[in-house]
């Protein structure tokens, strides 16, 4: 038996325990030094790689500089500099000789001057002391001494011009002092002369420096050197040096602890860090084939911010990083935590493809944000596909919100007026009172009120009411719906086509804006029946007769010339919005419908009506009452009269963005005839559909069902439907959708699956975004809800996810199923809309973060809404990089007026006066009477500027937009023109009619291919005319106007004006500013 005392040992347990202790200590150390500080490695890598990157870049810059120094213009400057120095050399040498002489004279005078001044100073001091002490005798003696010194003659060896020679001069103190100061003045003069002589060379030198700077983009070599030294000597591994603290927000962002290159001034991409042949590259990154995930992540992390221009506007020191990008800026312990991809962090980092969501948070009001391409597409889709028909989103369909505000204000006014009338009546009662209830003072007060207060107040209210009513009807006219007016159905389409379309619009017209609802056949039937029943009955409305009256003999499909129609369709500008041809052969723009199959569905007379003036309603509508136009007396003899009081606004224009092209009826007929031949699918839809045959009870049921489903699916969000005029939106508001709590998004039965990994033990390691199996996020929801279309292996369209995805697995009645239709977005469109929604948040930033534009910026932001609404960019370049779809058509190649695309609007604000522009926008035909069949300013173009019938509000916004885009001062004040003298006028008339002066060839007469000069005085700003004359191709590349007609300065070289000493261009500008019909006639006589 073992002795328990001697044999029992705790060695093993202790050994194990100490081993464990050791292990955990080691772990603690590891975690403290390395594990929780992964950025240490990044920082070291960064320093190593970036120093070399900079050295590499410096070499490039040096080489570039050397190249530039060899450039011809640089060498010329160098020559000029040398020549200037040479020129100045002789004079400089002369000045220098003078300067030397002065210096020598100065030196020669100095000893005598010092001696005399020293003595004088001393005696003067003593003298003053003596005078203070009233020692008269002493003072006198001193005065004598001073006099003596002043009279003393100093012998000065004054240097002569020739070196080494001197001339001995005797001078007293006063003379020496005078000479001294004159020398000083002389020296100043000479120094000024030197500076003037050196001036030209110095000027060239600074020109050379700025030439270099302008051509070498980025840092200069010495600046790069400074950064390299800084990195080598001052770089410290740590957090403090790399964090941003934005005090007023209480924000600490440590993003740059890892993203060290983010704010480097030398733009650096992954390629620069890796493929540029750096020595360290191999050492640090290794062989690309054995690349680890971590390494590629690291490489991505070290690059510079790809948009340094944005950082300039949004200084990170003031905005931080995470407010734009999302993520947990303070966390540095892991990639996942730092980026906020964690279930307990509410603002995860936006992924790269959605990065622009960050812009939306503060730039909520802009439809078009410079540089935010994805976001802009998202907003455009939201606007063009009519998402706002069902979902309220602030800014979109603004008219509805404005109308609500007006209604509220009108309510308040009515109430106030009632109260006012009440107190007026009371005051009147007071005056009538015979019981002496009131004092005289009180009665006086009442009289005063009756005389002075009530009438004014009432009149003020009336003014406001009138303005509100005007704005109300203008808003109704300006409000557009995405889809067509369905009250026109019976006049517009064949009944046989209707159900086919409603069932699956994308089958009839691939790429249509109309989404596909998931309808059962009976739903399609009943909806068709209801819409048909509630459309205007064209026969009872007598619309054909009215059309016949207007169009006369042209209302005849057989007479249509389809070939001419095709040509007109292609050249008048229809294809700026519409496309023709299917699939890859489609040409034109997809802003509006593709018309390849329009002939299969449409009725010819309606097409005529529509092309001639799409704004003209079959019957006026009362948008504020339900279904009133069906009972309108103008339309139905037995109908009710329109009553403004109860019915509200009366609308006579159609709510479409399609403009009126002011075409004559024969052209309308030919275009319509051509469109009738467009039957790409070969369908005829002539048969009478079953829903139209139903009668009696069956019909009743169809209509009742139809009404239910039309209301259920919110058709009235996009279409005008009889009886649904005042219908509200059926969807949820999306203004703050991106920050809605996740548990309020309906993931259906997928909630658990979506969060699957988030509940696993690894939840703090795994990024919840990246993993397909883990998508319990806003992005995960939006992407799936929107869905997208992909092509499968056979090239067939395949829907991926979609609005009904979250219905999967549920047993639900038709009424309970999700209603949102499939929009068949592409993957990129899905990303764009997702980005927009992710950025639509209720952000918590202080006010200074938000973009609240004023003045110029506001005008631009508001203008974009109108520009996009009417698709101005279909014809015109509005921004510098715009490529209007019309100009891209092969036949618009500028070979002739017929083939010339519409003008660019870049710089329009600097070109035309705002009052001219507003007039032109109201009526582009610039006709005095009715709208005419022509372009107002460019009658020679085949392509037509149509009449958009803008509301006054829209005209104002557009004019302000163009002025703002061109940075014009507001208000722009027209400069007075200096009239031409008789001699100048004669000279200009000669220049205009001279064969050397080609102006008349294009700007006047029958073969006109440029704007008529008679419009110039009212239209063009003088500064623009001048710039245009000097170099038209710079303002409008590819223009027919030749360049180089004028020189920019004397000697002027415009041949017909030879002999005129003044500014030739200026004379032209002045002449054009006074050109009118009378002048045109005078010229005609001369010819």
């Amino acid at each position: 038996m073992k002795d328990p005392i001697t044999d029992r040992s705790l060695s093993w347990p202790l050994a194990i325990a100490s081993a464990l202790l050791l292990l955990s200590t080691a772990w603690v150390l590891y975690d403290e030094i390395w594990g929780a500080r992964p950025w240490k490695g990044y920082q070291k890598t960064f320093r190593k790689v970036f120093v070399e990157r900079l050295e590499n870049f410096k070499q490039q810059q040096v080489a570039k500089e050397q190249d530039i120094r060899q450039e011809k213009s640089f060498l010329e400057m160098e020559e000029a500099r040398k020549a200037a120095m040479e020129d100045a050399k002789k004079s400089l040498a002369e000045v220098q000789v003078q300067m030397d002489l002065i210096n020598r004279k100065n030196a020669a005078l100095t000893p005598a001057m010092q001696d005399a001044r020293g003595r004088l100073g001393e005696f003067t001091y003593q003298l003053e002391k003596a005078r203070k002490g009233k020692k008269e005798g002493e003072a006198k003696a001193l005065e004598a001494k001073i006099e003596k010194i002043k009279a003393k003659k100093y012998k000065v060896a004054m240097p002569a011009l020739e070196k080494g020679k001197t001339e001995t001069v005797e001078m007293v103190f006063d003379e020496i002092a005078a000479e001294f100061s004159s020398l000083k003045n002389l020296r100043g003069d000479l120094q000024r002369q030197q500076a003037a002589l050196n001036g030209p060379a110095r000027e060239i030198q600074s020109k050379m420096a700025s030439y270099l700077q302008a051509r070498i983009h980025g840092l200069q070599p010495h600046q790069i050197d400074a950064r390299i030294t800084e990195l080598k000597e001052k770089f410290r591994v740590g957090i403090q040096d790399y964090q941003i603290h934005v005090e007023d927000v209480g924000l600490v962002d440590r993003c740059q602890v890892c993203h060290l290159g983010a704010m480097e001034k030398v733009a650096t991409t992954q390629k620069d860090l890796f493929d540029a042949g750096l020595k360290t590259s191999k050492e640090v990154w290794g062989d690309p084939s054995t690349y680890s995930k971590e390494k590629s992540a690291l490489r991505r992390a070290l690059v510079s911010h790809p948009r340094p221009d944005l950082l300039k506007v949004h200084d990170p020191e003031k905005f931080g990083c995470s407010p734009c990008h999302g993520g947990n800026g303070i966390a540095t312990t892991s990639v996942v935590r730092g980026h906020g991809w964690h279930k307990y962090w509410l603002y995860p980092l936006f992924e790269m493809e959605n990065a622009e969501a960050g812009c939306q948070q503060c730039h909520t009001g802009s439809l078009h944000l410079e540089g935010a391409t994805t976001l802009n597409v998202g907003k455009e889709i939201f606007s063009e596909r009519g998402c706002w028909g069902c979902h309220r989103m602030e800014g979109f369909d603004q008219e509805v919100d404005d109308l609500k505000l007006i209604a509220t204000r009108q309510g308040v006014l009515t109430r106030e007026r009632k109260e006012l009338l009440k107190s007026q009546a009371f005051d009147e009662g007071m005056l009538d009172d015979e019981d002496d209830l009131y004092t005289d003072e009180q009665l006086d007060e009442a009289q005063k009120r009756l005389d002075q207060v009530y009438p004014y107040k009432l009149s003020e209210m009336e003014t406001e009411e009138i303005e509100l009513a005007k704005r109300r009807s203008s808003l109704h006219a300006q409000r557009k719906r995405v889809g067509p007016n369905l009250k026109d159905l019976r006049a517009k389409v064949k009944p046989g086509w209707l159900a086919h379309w409603i069932d699956s619009p994308h089958v009839f017209r691939p790429g249509t804006k109309m989404p596909s609802f998931r309808l059962d056949p009976d739903q399609v039937q009943s909806i068709s029946a209801f819409l048909w029943e509630h459309a205007i009955d064209p026969e009872r409305a007598g619309y054909l007769a009215a059309l016949q009256k207007e169009a006369g003999k042209h209302l005849n499909q057989k007479a249509a010339d389809a070939v001419r129609g095709k040509n007109l369709f292609e050249t008048r500008g229809c294809m700026a919005c519409h496309s023709m041809g299917e699939g890859d052969s489609s040409q034109g723009s997809d802003f509006a419908a593709n018309l390849s199959r329009v002939g299969e569905k449409i009725q010819f007379p309606f097409l005529m009506r529509w092309i001639q003036n799409p704004r003209k309603r079959l019957v006026p509508s009362v948008p504020e009452s339900k279904g009133r136009d069906r009972f309108h007396r103008d339309l139905y003899p037995d109908g009710d009269p329109y009553d403004a009081e109860t019915d509200g606004v009366l609308l006579t224009t159609n709510a479409t963005v399609m403009p009126q092209f002011r075409l004559p009826w024969d052209e309308v007929r030919d275009i319509a005839g051509y469109l009738m031949t467009q039957r790409g699918g070969g369908g005829s839809f002539e048969e009478v559909p079953p829903w139209l045959k139903a009668e009696g009870e069956a019909k009743e049921k169809l209509l009742a069902d139809g009404q239910k489903w039309v209301s259920h699916f919110g058709c009235a969000g996009c279409h005008e439907i009889g009886g649904f005029e005042t219908e509200g939106r059926i969807g949820t508001e999306l203004t703050k959708e991106g920050s809605k709590p996740l548990d309020r998004l309906d993931f259906g039965l997928f909630t658990h699956q979506a969060k699957k990994l988030a509940f696993s033990t690894h939840d703090w390691i795994e990024p919840i975004h990246k993993d397909e199996g883990n998508w319990y996020t806003h992005k995960g929801f939006f992407v799936r809800k929107l869905g997208w279309v992909e092509q499968d292996e056979e090239g067939e369209d395949k829907l991926v996810y979609g609005p009904d995805f979250f219905d999967q697995g549920k047993e639900r009645s038709r009424e309970e199923k999700l209603r949102m239709p499939n929009f068949r977005l592409s993957k990129n469109e899905n990303t764009a809309v997702t980005t927009f929604l992710l950025g639509s948040v209720d952000s918590q930033f202080p006010p200074r973060f938000y973009h609240n534009p004023e003045g110029r910026a506001k005008a631009i932001e508001e203008g974009w809404w109108i520009i996009k609404k009417y698709n101005c960019q279909g014809c015109h370049a509005v921004g510098v990089s715009d490529k209007p779809s019309l100009g891209e058509l092969p036949w618009f190649d500028g070979r002739s007026a017929e083939r010339t695309a519409p003008p660019t609007l870049v710089g329009e604000g600097s070109r035309v006066y705002s009052d001219w522009l507003s007039g032109f926008l109201r009526d582009p035909s610039m006709a005095t009477g009715a709208h005419e069949n022509r372009n107002g300013i460019r009658p020679y173009l085949a392509v037509r500027m149509p009449s958009f019938h803008f509301s006054e509000e829209e005209v104002g916004k557009l004019v302000r937009f163009f002025e703002a885009m061109s940075s014009q001062p507001t208000p722009y004040i027209k400069k007075e023109n200096v009239p031409l003298s008789r001699k100048e006028l004669a000279l200009m008339r000669k220049a205009f009619t001279d064969k050397e002066g080609p102006c008349q060839k294009c700007h006047v007469g029958d073969g006109m291919i440029a704007p008529n000069f008679v419009h110039t005085p009212a239209r063009l700003k003088p500064s623009w005319i001048r710039r245009w004359l000097l170099d038209p191709s710079q303002l409008s590349p590819g223009t027919s106007m030749p360049s180089g007609l004028f020189g920019t300065q004397a000697p002027w070289k415009y041949p017909p004006l030879m002999g005129y000493g003044g500014d030739h261009v200026d004379l032209f500008v002045r002449y054009l500013r006074q050109y009118d019909e009378g002048e045109a006639k005078a010229l005609e006589k001369m010819e």
Partner: protein
């Protein structure tokens, strides 16, 4: 204490391993890219002695020749018509010669010359376009990259010489009297055929095509519909392409041997 040190040593060692692991790699990439660059710079300079094959041929036209439309001269009528007498000039878009051949077809080598550089056979003789009676003469004239282009006017009225191209810039100047000449148009890059043109905006019917080639193997058919290259081709496989303003492109593949005289026939027809 010892074992703790050991741990630290271990950690350091593994860290070192990790770091040294990054140091590996080979030169594949850099040599690859080197090979690429030497590939592009290894072009042979072509000299006329290298060629031995003369290429010539004719462009036939099948079917009835479309009638040439009269140009609609509606501006400067007197000045423009001075050259033409009473009948206005005819459109030059399609000209079928009397011998059933097609005029103004540009035939050129479109493939097979990639291995040559043509720096040593630069053409310095300027090509001249004249404006006579408000018509460009000639209507089609090909140039080699770098060859000077002169545009002059024989009309005593105002023209604007509007040069339009995809790769060689745009330019628009005014020439207002007979004898004016412009020598500033410069072509430095090859153009997709048909994209470089001169036009006069004042007289919208006036235009001329300027096909631009990097090599000298091109020719334009004239009144007899025949073409022949001015320089001989080296033996090899080539694709010859013919281009016509209205009827577009047609190509044939040819293989030629040293000393051969190759004859090629292209055929266009009114209906494609």
């Amino acid at each position: 204490m010892k074992s703790k040190n050991l741990w630290i040593v271990c950690i350091l060692a593994s860290a070192l391993c990790f770091l040294s692991g990054c140091g590996g790699g080979d030169d594949n990439e850099s040599t690859g890219s080197n090979a690429g660059t030497t590939g592009t710079s290894s072009k042979k300079d072509f000299t006329p002695e290298m060629g031995s094959v003369s290429v010539a041929g004719v462009v036939q036209f099948e079917g009835s020749a479309p009638a040439r439309k009269k140009l609609n001269i509606n501006k400067d009528v007197a000045g423009c018509m001075a050259e033409h007498g009473k009948t206005p000039p005819l459109s030059e878009t399609v000209i079928v010669n009397d011998n059933k051949t097609l005029r103004n077809v540009v035939v050129y080598v479109s493939k097979g010359l990639a291995k040559y550089s043509f720096k040593k056979v630069k053409k310095t003789e300027p090509v001249v376009f004249d404006q006579v009676g408000c018509v460009y003469v000639p209507h089609v004239q090909a140039v080699m990259v770098g060859q000077p282009i002169h545009v002059k006017s024989s009309d005593d009225l105002a023209h604007n010489v509007h040069w339009k191209s995809k790769k060689n810039g745009d330019k628009n100047i005014s020439q207002s009297s007979a004898g004016a000449i412009d020598k500033t148009t410069f072509v430095a890059k090859r153009e997709e055929i048909g994209t470089a043109v001169f036009q006069c905006d004042i007289h919208g019917w006036m235009n001329a095509f300027v096909p631009v080639f990097k090599h000298p193997f091109y020719a334009t058919t004239g009144e007899d519909g025949k073409f022949s290259f001015d320089m001989k081709l080296p033996a090899g496989k080539y694709t010859l392409t013919a281009w016509h303003e209205k009827f577009g492109k047609k190509s044939v593949k040819v293989e030629v041997k040293d000393g051969e005289a190759k004859s090629v026939v292209f055929t266009y027809s009114a209906k494609p």
